[in-house]
Symmetry: C2
Subunit: 404 residues, 2 copies
């Protein structure tokens, strides 16, 4: 089972192309991770995700912890075995959903107390608990628990929250090292091999993926100083890699781009950088231009279910009556299954009729658009023509007014 590693293979300006290696295979970066909240990307089965070229899937700890439970998943051999996805998986910490979905949540230094949105049951999520749950899930990349503020907050709220996130990061890393050092693993550099490949159990936690990596998260709102302080502190704790959290929560795009531009130089160049929760196709291109390697976002999947299709000339809303007799594919420039076989008229009919296949076909197209955009980005970086790709991409998107 290979240890987690990352290698930058091409640099073009601040954009990087690379390969992230995990126990379940390689991820070509910059990469987009489709969101499979409950162990499934809504409307798209795994086979189609693989055919679309998805290297890595994101799944949500909060949802899986509540249902079917990390214990049940661990007894199945971990999330990969349970859901039948053989490639890399990243799990979030559960924090974001606790802050956005759960009822009656209270936060203190120990962690977050909340009630399940499913049955009202009481739970406590601590930095250590988030590590334990993800150890049982056995994802290839686990995220630390961070405090997620409502967007955008003032510095008087952001500073203490960022500092608490730093203290939680230390606790999360300690817990992670305690769990995994039982296998003789102590640091990023010397985790090359393990005595065997099976899972092991520590403190009644079943570790289902001994080669799991842990990413820290930089917070600090929109303040360059707080972001830098958070980055320095998080890197000081020491993780396999680092994410930028707390963005893509309603702030203007330019503000996000500036925070990204200011933060990536504070992160080690030999580790992948993950911008959490972003974003639009433009956000992806602009963030790659500022040194980001990994993305996840619900836009292609959620908006697909709502009838919005991303195209090379901007999004279209398939519900629109103007498409009722439009025989063109959603995006004439696209080669995906949906665009090869379905007209806008048919897709509109399926959506209006409430057919499940509308969700599948729209999501297939949107994920293809996102994954293909990342493929083009990687190619452009490899040939040192990222800037011209970036200019052409924005020009194409501005070619006509969007209708949604």
């Amino acid at each position: 089972m290979p240890a987690f590693s990352f290698r930058v293979t091409h640099v073009d300006g601040r954009a990087r192309r690379g390969v992230m290696t995990t126990a379940h295979g390689d991820v070509q970066t910059p990469a987009f991770m489709p969101v499979g909240t409950q162990g499934a990307v809504k409307g798209v089965i795994h086979r189609d995700l693989e055919q679309l070229g998805a290297d890595i899937l994101l799944s949500n700890t909060y949802h899986l912890y509540l249902r079917p439970g990390d214990g049940l998943i661990a007894r199945r051999g971990g999330l990969h075995a349970f859901i039948g996805w053989p490639r890399p998986i990243l799990t979030d910490s559960g924090g974001y959903q606790v802050f956005s979905l759960a009822a009656r949540r209270t936060i203190d230094e120990e962690g977050v107390r909340f009630r399940s949105h499913l049955d009202g049951s009481a739970h406590l999520l601590t930095p250590e608990k988030a590590v334990d749950i993800q150890a049982q899930l056995g994802s290839d990349i686990a995220m630390v628990l961070d405090e997620c503020l409502a967007s955008p907050s003032g510095e008087e709220l952001v500073r203490p929250s960022m500092q608490r996130t730093l203290r939680w990061a230390r606790r999360a890393r300690d817990r992670f090292l305690t769990l995994y050092e039982k296998r003789g693993r102590e640091s990023f550099s010397d985790r090359g091999s393990f005595p065997d490949r099976g899972s092991f159990s520590g403190d009644s936690v079943i570790v289902t993926n001994p080669a799991q990596a842990q990413f820290g998260i930089v917070q600090g709102g929109v303040s360059p100083e707080l972001r830098e302080e958070s980055a320095r502190g998080t890197v000081g704790v020491g993780f396999e890699a680092y994410a930028i959290g707390g963005l893509s929560v309603g702030e203007p795009a330019d503000v996000m781009y500036n925070v990204v531009a200011g933060t990536t130089p504070c992160l080690p160049p030999d580790r992948p950088r993950y911008l959490m929760g972003a974003g639009t196709p433009q956000d992806l291109v602009e963030s790659v231009a500022r040194g980001i390697d990994l993305f996840d976002c619900v836009l292609p999947t959620r908006n697909g279910r709502n009838g919005q299709l991303f195209t090379s000339e901007g999004p279209i809303n398939i519900k629109n009556a103007r498409y009722a007799e439009d025989d063109r594919p959603p995006d004439p420039a696209c080669g995906c299954y949906t665009c090869r076989t379905c007209s806008r008229a048919y897709l509109r009919h399926l959506f209006q009729a409430g057919e499940i296949n509308a969700c599948t076909l729209n999501t297939l197209h949107n994920l293809h658009f996102y994954l293909d955009t990342l493929r083009q980005i990687r190619d452009a970086i490899a040939f040192e023509r990222f800037e011209s790709f970036r200019a052409a991409f924005h020009q194409s998107l501005s070619r006509r007014l969007h209708d949604s």
Copy 2:
């Protein structure tokens, strides 16, 4: 564009194997037609239907007439072009849905007046109108409008209804011949070719498939005498082939089998015989044994969405708590995508979590089970071992108690 034709290639007892040729390709019979009510099989995109080996799709005239409208579909070039399905399509007449779904319906000799279940709008469906709508849809096989009685009715209701269905059949055939004879087409035997392949317009009806065939429907409830009278009358009108309607509506299986056994000898042996709306896997095997060639049924699709999976040892209900930690595939004897990649535990989780993919994966499996059963039936007939297949099939199904 080939004319409609049918050729029996093997006979084994009363079971037949054959090839039904349509303008959009061949159908190996006995065949099962997945139901794509609104131009889509819920949860399964066309590519997967083709991979499952579906030769022919059934679609519903009532639904498509109301939304998006047969006129809109005709302007797209017909149903095949609109939905992007290049293989054969059979459409029902719309009658069954009018009788089961529509509000405030009244029936008289002219036809059925009803209000749309979508928007309450008033409509009149006549035998002629059902022909016109299906001409615009351009299916390969159109069904005549018949009167559908609530199940099971007494002879005092069945006889006049069956006689009305016969009068409607005459009107439907007249309308069909009027529409299509403009292309020089008058009878089954001499419809081999047309001057060109395009659509044509007659009486403001756009005929989008000049090679469409029309099937008559035998009614008569559970009375052998009425069934025989209906069969004689319907064959007397003269259609490309014949269906048995009014079964699989709640009567005991043995009653249905007896009606089928009594009716098929009254139908021409050189034309396909279609048992409408049936049935369970056992129903299919038993009806093939009595000379049936075509089936359609919502069971594999609707029950799949409700969590019921057909297996070689009987149906299982994936909702059942006993499957929460069951790592076996739904049917260890099955080679479908779902059984190759998903455990019962994962499928139960997806169902409990309300994931769309539960519908897709369950339906993929159930359709595979149905289509594979028909493949086995065809092979058995070709090798003259249908009786041993039939015995083994029932024995396997009775091997354990069903749980649903």
